[in-house]
Symmetry: C2
Subunit: 349 residues, 2 copies
């Protein structure tokens, strides 16, 4: 005898809807909705009946439909230039925890530090009715980016950027960190101090350079332009920059590797060239890491609380999304400190 062949369930999986729950419980759809949203004026008796029906049918609310009706999505987008940077992960982790606690889900995208992608993402976020955005910018002065930001229609918070004062910003005090590091090197007698720094269009590098220059002029010293290398963004960049610096006729006696996550490239170059950090040359890292701490000798480094940055960013964005009336953009700077280790030594006289 033939068996009927049961066809694969195709297309939209049939889900349980409020309508179904309402029918099961013998109430109106509006009542089910009120139960769902904890409306204060629902009799316990009905509430229980509805909840029983929901459990029985395995009902789950459709967030998409809620979003459409409410005009908000309970999504927060985070776009950073490259989340391959280990320490940024800490920022995201903390921000996500705070946001999830508040009922939001995190959307993630990477901008590759390109203005066109930043603009594209902003519009993609808007199309998704995202409730808030936290992001880095490749160039705060970029005309089209600024235009896209002002057309954003949802709160935007800048991560480690300080150029647009109408927006909320969470930064680290890189200027002070760089000033401390440079002052430390100057105090040890160093004068030929090389600096490896990232993209000077963006806040962190720009303010690190400021701090560097500030310390130099406080010591009555003019930094040598040939010892400044900008656009150092990756380990490979740092490797090349270090090699070329050490090949100079008058090589630096100290290296300030200020860009994030580039210490490895620099140390690799020094090792290849047979130069010992600390002994042959003093080295300061712009951001601390296991690598800096556990290197031999351990590397003097600047540090700050990235977890706190993540928490603050999420909290400030939540306030904006709640619609709190806050005047203008707020800037919050997390302090930086210098951890002095064995890689920075007095210049031999």
């Amino acid at each position: 005898m033939n068996r009927f062949i049961i066809p694969m369930m195709m297309g939209r999986p049939q889900t349980v809807k409020v309508r179904d729950v309402a029918r099961e419980a013998g109430v109106a759809v509006g009542t089910v909705s009120r139960v769902l949203n904890d409306h204060p004026r629902v009799t316990p008796e009905l509430r229980e009946r509805v909840e029983k029906a929901m459990a029985h049918l395995g009902y789950e609310v459709d967030v998409t439909a809620q979003s459409m009706r409410a005009g908000r999505s309970r999504l927060v987008a985070c776009a950073i230039r490259d989340f391959d940077i280990p320490r940024f992960a800490l920022f995201i982790k903390e921000a996500e925890a705070v946001l999830r606690e508040a009922g939001y889900t995190l959307l993630l995208a990477s901008t590759t530090n390109r203005a066109d992608i930043e603009i594209g993402l902003l519009s993609a976020f808007r199309r998704r009715r995202v409730d808030g955005v936290m992001m880095t910018l490749s160039d705060e002065q970029h005309r089209d980016v600024r235009e896209a930001l002002s057309a954003a229609s949802m709160p935007v918070l800048l991560i480690d950027r300080d150029g647009i004062t109408t927006l909320d910003r969470v930064t680290a005090d890189h200027r002070e960190g760089a000033r401390l590091a440079t002052t430390h090197l100057l105090g040890l007698g160093h004068r030929r101090i090389a600096m490896l720094v990232g993209d000077l269009k963006a806040f962190p590098s720009r303010s690190r350079l400021e701090g560097f220059r500030e310390a130099c002029s406080a010591a009555g010293m003019v930094p040598h332009p040939r010892l400044l290398r900008d656009n150092v963004l990756s380990g490979e960049d740092a490797y090349r920059a270090t090699v070329s610096l050490m090949a100079l006729a008058e090589p630096p006696t100290a290296l300030f590797v200020a860009a994030m996550d580039t210490l490895g490239g620099c140390l690799r170059a020094l090792r290849t060239m047979g130069i010992a950090a600390g002994d042959g040359i003093s080295v300061v890292a712009g951001s601390d890491s296991d690598l800096a701490e556990l290197h031999a000798p351990p590397i003097t480094a600047i540090t700050w609380d990235l977890a706190a940055m993540g928490r603050h960013a999420a909290t400030m964005l939540l306030e904006r999304m709640r619609g709190d009336e806050i005047e203008g953009g707020r800037g919050l700077a997390v302090p930086t400190q210098l951890i002095i280790r064995g890689s920075t030594r007095p210049l031999p006289s």
Copy 2:
């Protein structure tokens, strides 16, 4: 003369809708939708008129509304136990790039390696009508988790987990990596080999232990149970485990720090105790890093291509989401290799 006070625009920002575009272009709403979705049968003349109207009004589709109608969201969720792990960031970065290319947006959440959170996230993802999920699991055998997975209603891909063969899995060949590392140590004459490993309920640690045991029995050697430390999940755990191991009456002559991202803690402990890696004790790291490469001496380490894992995971999930009829779950294992460096030396006889 009094000025009228213009009230702040409150509530829902009035957006341009297809209806408005249709009116502006003098066509039906259905036609605008067909232009939006590149329907083949639209005369170029009309298409142009509609596109002009969209540009003129600054129209942007509402992805939420599209999602609701279509029953899919073009969202892919990624939930991993802790994205503070630097190398995982690489996985996510590559996966996100592939997914974005295909028109999907990445949702991110961290599970803290807790089964209840994993279950909660699965249902949150379902409520958001997420199209696909990639995730780690704290315990593949956990009853409730398996139940939640089978009720998932969207494709789920496991990241570095291999226990549920009905699902797609992307793993690294940790077993082979551990086997290579252990064989290497045994070949150098080591017999008291300590192993620091994570949660044995999860695939990576379990299969590392298998590889370790396999190499041991191939050498006719029985590993000493007191030298095995599991549940080493953080740098602090590794620190404590190392200290306690080295304080044994018969301390190990080699340390296999197999858990991810725990090498730092181990090296910190050794430094504190005045033991030199390589010289006093041989050390192998379960995953490579700048720290391993640039340490003095450089640390022998297992490595694999996490970027490729990310790409594969995204690609396989995309195939599932396209609805390709694929039999059962597919398992893809990325190969691991051992990089031998100075931290592993022959046992002095």
